[in-house]
Structures are given as C-alpha cells and as structure tokens.
C-alpha cells in the first residue's frame, strides 16, 4: 500500500504543475465541427461497433451476432442489427495449411428513423441503415496464436427529408433534406489468442482504402458475449466501449 501511495504522490505532484484550463466550450465546438464536416463517417463508427470481423472459432460452421452497446449508444435499440458468419472452408481441410475461409456480413436499420417520420409533421421521409459483407481468412501459426486477414465492404445511409412547410435552417441556410452516406472497402488484419476455455482475445486493424478510415479493435469474447474497445484515432469519440451478443454453431 505504501508503494501505491508513493507512486500516486509521485504522479500527482508533477501533474499539478502542468494543469491547464480546459476550454470545454471550445472542445465542444471542435467536436461539433468534426461531426458536421463528415456526419456519415461519424455515424459509421457506430456501425463498426456492431460489425462482426473476427473469424469463427475453430470447429464452428456458422454464427450470428447482434450489437447490444456501441460507443455511447444502446445499439440494440437505436441500431438493431443482425450479423452472420459462415465458414466455407475449415483450416487445413482441403489441403494442409490452407486457411479457414469465413464469409461475413450484416444489416441494421434504425426504428428511430420511421418513428421520427411518423410523429413529426416537419419530417416526410427518413432512412438510417447500413450493411457490410466480406470474407476472412484465418490461419494458426502456433497452438496459441491465430492470425486473420480479409476484406469487407461497408455502406451506411442516412437521409432525412423535411416538409415544404417546415422552416428548417442550418447555419442560416434553408434545408430541404439531409442526405449523407458512407461507403468504403476495408482491409482487415488481426491476431487472436486464447485466454482460457472458450475465451479468446484479439486485436485487429480495419483500414478503409478509399477514405483512409482507421479502426482498431481490441476484444475479449466467449461463448455468448463479446466485450471490446474500438478505437477510432481519427474519430470524434475516439474510444467506443462495445458489447455484442453472439452464438456460434
């Protein structure tokens, strides 16, 4: 305990010298500016939270996943999703050393979009959905380490149309509709290692080749749940805690 107190003091004392006045208003404006500059990229970070981009565990042929929580959103309610994985080839089945090949994909659609259109006279139409598909190759490089790499294509649509009678202005400019979207092809690479019986740990990088979108994921997963930290270093909210539910057969 003494060591801990001493360490805390050592770290805390110099911290006082470097304390700065945090300008929260300026920070908030910066965040708002980044969202407005590219709203679709901001929304896509939440889609990445629910995407299943780890390979099926060895011996499993197919699996399902749905997002429960991503970033600051209960994605199970805001962006309900269904993802699937299907193993086309088990590692070493056809030929020794030939990697496991999984097809991956998923779709989500927000009920909030329809509710907004139904309950507001100013909004005539809304769309807020997305999907992704791709494949993963995974190969064991030792009994405790499996590498995986692959490709995914992701797309997100967000649209809101306003009634002609609605007087909607954005920064003083009349707005009839907001129609935005995100689409990119991603290169996926990662490594997986067991943590215990039916427990796995992985780290992966997703890189969007057209938009240079960067996402890194660290996750722990077992039989039913995946807990993760998705890090979007160029994103608005850099760290997204993630909670997904999955079943693999």
């Amino acid at each position: 305990m003494r060591k801990i107190v001493l360490l805390t003091l050592c770290l805390g004392l110099p911290a006082g010298q470097a304390r700065a006045e945090i300008d929260w208003e300026s920070k908030g404006m910066q965040i708002a500016g980044e969202i407005l500059a590219n709203p679709a990229a901001f929304l896509y970070e939440f889609q990445q939270d629910l995407e299943g981009t780890t390979p099926l565990p060895p011996g499993k042929r197919y699996g399902f996943q749905t997002g429960l929580w991503g970033g600051a959103l209960p994605t199970i309610g805001v962006m309900p999703s269904l993802s699937g994985k299907f193993r086309l080839h088990g590692e070493g089945r056809l030929s020794p050393g030939l990697p496991q090949l999984d097809l991956i994909g998923g779709y989500w659609n927000s009920p909030l979009a329809g509710m907004a259109a139904d309950q507001s006279d100013d909004i005539t139409d809304t769309k807020f959905n997305g999907h992704y598909y791709g494949f993963l190759l995974s190969s064991s490089v030792s009994p405790r380490v499996r590498t995986f790499w692959g490709f995914k294509k992701s797309q997100l649509k967000a649209k809101i149309s306003f009634a002609p009678t609605a007087d909607i202005k954005l920064l003083g400019t009349p707005v009839n509709d907001i129609d935005t979207g995100f689409e990119d092809s991603f290169f996926v690479v990662g490594l997986e290692s067991p943590k215990g019986l039916n427990k796995l740990w992985s780290i992966q990088l997703n890189y969007g080749m057209d938009t240079q979108t960067i996402a890194s994921k660290v996750s722990w997963y077992g039989k039913y749940f995946e807990l993760g930290l998705n890090i979007y270093p160029e994103g608005v909210f850099v760290v997204h805690p993630v909670w997904n539910f999955h079943l693999n057969f």
Binding site: C10, A15, Q17, I22, S26, A37, L191, W201, Y207, I214
Partner: protein
C-alpha cells in the same frame, strides 16, 4: 523539418525491423506479425486538451526456398496521431499515415555471411486536423528505392553479428507547393513551386549487435532535386543561386535490453549531427522591406536518451518508469524573443524531457497491455511561439496494447 524527422524515423524503423524476422528451421513459411496500439489523452499547459493514438502494424511472411535462400515480404502500416513532440518537429495536432512495402531476398554465404538485397515502396499521408483530407496533405510523399545489407555473424551463441547496409530512396512530394514562391510570382506558380521538396535520400549504416547490446553509426544524405538555397539578399535573389539544398545527418546510437532479477532495463542513447546548407529569411509581415537573413538556419546537434526500467513484480505484472530527454542545440540559428526579433550572440537550444510511470500486464506469451502516465517538460530559449509551442508542460494518460508474433 518535420518531414526530415518523419522520413528518417520511417526509413530507420522499417529497415531495422527487416532483420528482426527469422525463419523457424522446420517451416517453409514463417509469418511475422507485430501490432502496437496506443491511445493517449493530452493536457498541455498551452492550448486545449486533445487525444491522439499510435498504431503500428507489421505483417510479413518469410519463405525458405532452400537452406540458403529466403524471401521476406513485409507490409507496414503506421499511424501517428496528435501528441507531444520535440520542438521544431511537428505541431500537436499533426498526424501521419504510412503504408510501406519491403521485399527482401536473403542468401547465406558460408557459415558467417549473409547478403540481403531488397526493394522498398512507401506512401505517406499527412494532415494537421481531422477536417482535412489525407489525399491533399502538403507533405504527402511517395517513396521508392532499394537497399543492400550484409550481415556477418561472429558469435552465434550470443546472437552476435554486424550489419552493414546501404539504402537509397527517391522521395517525391506530389502536393507540395511553396506558398512564398507563389506569393512572389503569382503568374508562374505551378511551374516554379512544384516538386521543390523532391529529394534523393541515401543512407549507409554499420550496426553491431551482441548479447542484446546494440548500436551503430548511420550516415544519411538528402539531396533535393529542385529546392535551391535561399540567398542572402532576400526577395530579389530567392532562387537565383544555383546551389541546391543538401542535408546530411550522422547518428551514433547505443542501447541494450537486459534483465537482472526482477529488473528489466532497455536504455538507448543517440547523438546526431545534422548539417544543412539551407538558410532562412524572416519576414515579420508581408510588407517587410528589411527581412532578416539567418544563414545556416537548420544545422544542429542533438542528444537523446531514454532509460526505461520495468520491475517484474510477478510473471504477469510489472511497474515501470522511464525518463527520456531530447536536447537540440542549433549551430547558427539565433534564438528569438517574443516579438520575433533575433537575439544576437544567443543560439537556440531546445530541450524536451519526459517522465513516465506505467503498469504493464502480460496478457499471454504474445501480448501485453500497458497503462501509463507521462509528464512532459519542454523548454527552449526561443520565446517566439506564435506558430509552435516551445515552452510548456503537459500531462498525458494512455493505454497501449502490444502483440508480437
């Protein structure tokens, strides 16, 4: 200057890692995977809080064709986000993105010698904010070149070997434009300003390794293809001189990584001499009719050292501390007061000290996670800080994952 730092770091880093992959004797194909992921929050005494991350991913495959012949391919992805950096290198908010490809052929000659010719391609993106597009970064580069390394093994039992390496890169800056040149010559902008940072980088190094001690001497030469040296008489002679910019950097470094009981120590010390023939003209304003000419503005000597120490409390947990210092003394550049006036007789000196405390947990035999806190103290006798902070303190808190196979 920030490009120099970036290019040297990338060139040295990638070239250094190439020899790190070794073939497992029983396998034809040996994968190489290394990923480091770090995310930090920063609180500087000057400016607002910000966050930044670093991601480095290396994926490689070593193929053993025969007992003596191997082929190694390596892809390197590197993202460097906002963060504190030594003065005169980059802004807090600058970020870089690099894709590097290296292909190397390895041939063993007898029991001691090995030659490793290779080629390299890389593409770098830069930007200073998330609202800019990567494709249009002023300092984006495209690089291609080749290298030849020769290893001599003198003590296999202690992994003792010496590596001599020659590498050359042609580096182009497709987006670079000289705003000053365009301002002075608005009618001929694109012809005059394009390609002024394009350069040929050549590097030779000699690096011995023995029993986890390592060091070496590295000499780097950058020959600019178009960038001319700024003349002494200011506007009228800008670009009129036929002398083109040439920079050289000589670096000596030494380090080791050893364990003694629960102590794990891996210090590194490096001393660099950077020499540039480029000069600088300071205009205080657009209409400044008597600009100040600073000859030999970019030459400096730099000492840097880092002393990290981990105490392995258990096989899983360790607490660590580290101190790192970067000290740069300019050869000729005078320091400036806060009004942008050069102070005669006083050369610019920058120092950046970082103290770090950390807790490390080993997740398994290939992965670890580290929580850290750092205090940064940056000081300089240069008081003109309108564009870049020179004197500040800063706190940073971070989490880092490292996975290596």
């Amino acid at each position: 200057m920030k490009k120099l730092t970036l290019i040297l770091a990338i060139t040295a880093g990638l070239a250094g890692r190439l020899s790190a992959a070794t073939a497992e004797s029983s396998k034809i194909f040996t994968p190489f995977f290394d990923m480091t992921l770090a995310e930090n929050g920063y609180m500087p005494s000057e400016g607002n809080i910000f966050s930044g991350g670093n991601i480095n991913t290396q994926v490689g495959l070593l193929a053993k064709i025969t007992e003596k012949d191997q082929v190694f391919g390596l892809y390197n992805f590197n993202y460097g986000g906002p963060g504190f950096a030594p003065q005169d290198t980059k802004q807090f908010t600058d970020r870089t993105l690099t894709h590097g490809f290296n292909f190397e052929y390895r041939r063993s000659l007898g029991g001691h010698w090995r030659v490793r010719p290779g080629i390299s391609l890389s593409k770098d993106y830069t930007r200073s904010g998330a609202n800019e597009t990567w494709d249009q970064g002023l300092y984006n580069t495209e690089s291609k070149g080749f290298q030849l390394a020769v290893d001599y093994s003198f003590d296999a039992a202690h992994n003792g070997f010496i590596t001599a390496q020659f590498l050359t890169r042609s580096i182009e800056f497709p987006n670079y434009t000289d705003l000053f040149q365009e301002f002075m010559n608005p009618s001929v902008t694109s012809e005059l300003s394009g390609g002024q940072q394009d350069q040929r980088l050549t590097q030779v190094s000699l690096r011995p390794n023995w029993n986890k001690f390592f060091g070496g001497v590295t000499y780097t030469m950058q020959k600019y293809k178009n960038q001319k040296v700024v003349g002494a008489t200011g506007v009228a002679t800008y670009g009129d001189t036929s002398e083109k910019q040439e920079d050289t950097t000589t670096t000596l470094d030494f380090g080791f990584h050893h364990k003694l009981w629960i102590f794990e120590l891996y210090p590194v010390i490096a001393y660099s001499v950077h020499d540039s023939n480029q000069n600088y003209i300071r205009y205080k304003s657009i209409g400044d009719v008597s600009p100040y000419f600073m000859a030999d503005n970019y030459s400096y000597k730099e000492l840097s050292f880092s002393v990290p120490l981990d105490l392995n409390i258990t096989s899983k947990w360790a607490v660590g501390g580290a101190m790192s210092v970067v000290k740069r003394n300019y050869e000729s550049r005078l320091r400036r007061d806060k009004f942008n006036n050069y102070v005669a007789g006083e050369k610019q000196e920058n120092t950046m000290t970082t103290l770090t405390g950390s807790i490390r947990k080993r997740i398994n035999d290939v992965a670890m996670v580290r929580l850290s806190y750092s205090l940064v103290v940056a000081s300089s006798n240069n008081e003109f800080e309108q564009y870049m902070p020179y004197n500040y303190t800063g706190n940073s808190f971070g989490i880092a994952y490292q996975l290596s196979y």
